[in-house]
């Protein structure tokens, strides 16, 4: 039946998928998709624990702030990717080996 472990399983799957994307992809934007998956798995965990164990809304609030931070992270990260592309004409992660352009 639907219990805490169902949500934990889904969240685990998301986390593994995110890690796999981050390891296996060489495209920076694809890696950022992986980061979104990982952040979402964490947020889902918070919300699920808050329903099944704590019965208060602190977990929801935590998930809300995770979503906020994920949005800020995506904004800045993608800006860096775009700037990187303007300089190097590529978004391959292996080309980002230097600290200065």
């Amino acid at each position: 039946m639907i219990s805490l472990s169902s949500y934990l399983f889904i969240s685990f799957t998301l986390f593994i998928a995110g890690i796999a994307v981050m390891i296996a992809r060489k495209n920076i934007i694809a890696m950022m998709l992986g980061i979104e998956l990982i952040l979402n798995s964490a947020a889902l965990n918070f919300a699920a624990y808050s329903r099944f164990v704590n019965n208060n809304l602190e977990g929801h609030l935590m998930s809300l702030f995770i979503i906020v931070i994920a949005a800020a992270e995506a904004a800045v990260g993608l800006a860096i990717v775009i700037r990187f592309f303007q300089i190097k004409e590529t978004i391959h992660i292996d080309d980002a080996a230097q600290l200065q352009s």
């Binding site: 809300l64 906020v68 800020a72 904004a75 800006a79 303007q86």
Partner: protein
């Protein structure tokens, strides 16, 4: 603080599946009824009668990104303000409104500061005007005078 069951989401799921169903049914009927005679000319992308040159999936101007960047910040701040706005009346009714007004105004003023910054830096201009240096202006004046 009324309790509810998950049945409230039933119409949402039903409507979404109706949308999928409508698309499937209409595309299926269209498949049966319509003619199907593909030719390479028909399948060309429309470019005013010319042969298409290159792909459309190329780099775009970065201003589209800056717009979506400002948008997402406003979106997130809106999402944070909605629950606070929803309880505002209650707090005013019990005489705690000043706290909420304070925190909301601080929140909004930070937002306003962001938009003022973007405005002053020209991120809100779709067509950017570039400031020419004095040398370039003089050069242009020289060209004008020659003409």
């Amino acid at each position: 603080m009324t309790a509810y069951t998950l049945d409230v989401y039933m119409p949402v799921i039903i409507l979404m599946s109706l949308a999928v169903g409508l698309v499937l049914v209409s595309v299926f009927f269209a498949q049966i009824l319509r003619p199907f005679k593909p030719s390479s000319l028909k399948e060309q992308a429309y470019e005013c009668g010319e042969d298409p040159v290159g792909t459309a999936w190329s780099n775009f101007n970065v201003r589209f990104y800056v717009v979506s960047l400002i948008f997402i910040v406003f979106d997130v701040e809106g999402a944070l303000m909605f629950p606070v706005a929803a309880i505002f009346r209650k707090f005013v009714a019990i005489g705690e409104g000043a706290v909420l007004v304070g925190s909301l105004l601080v929140f909004i003023s930070v937002l306003v500061f962001g938009i003022i910054y973007c405005w002053s830096k020209g991120d809100l201009d779709w067509v950017r005007s570039f400031q020419l240096s004095d040398e370039q202006v003089n050069q242009l004046k020289g060209i004008e005078e020659k003409a």
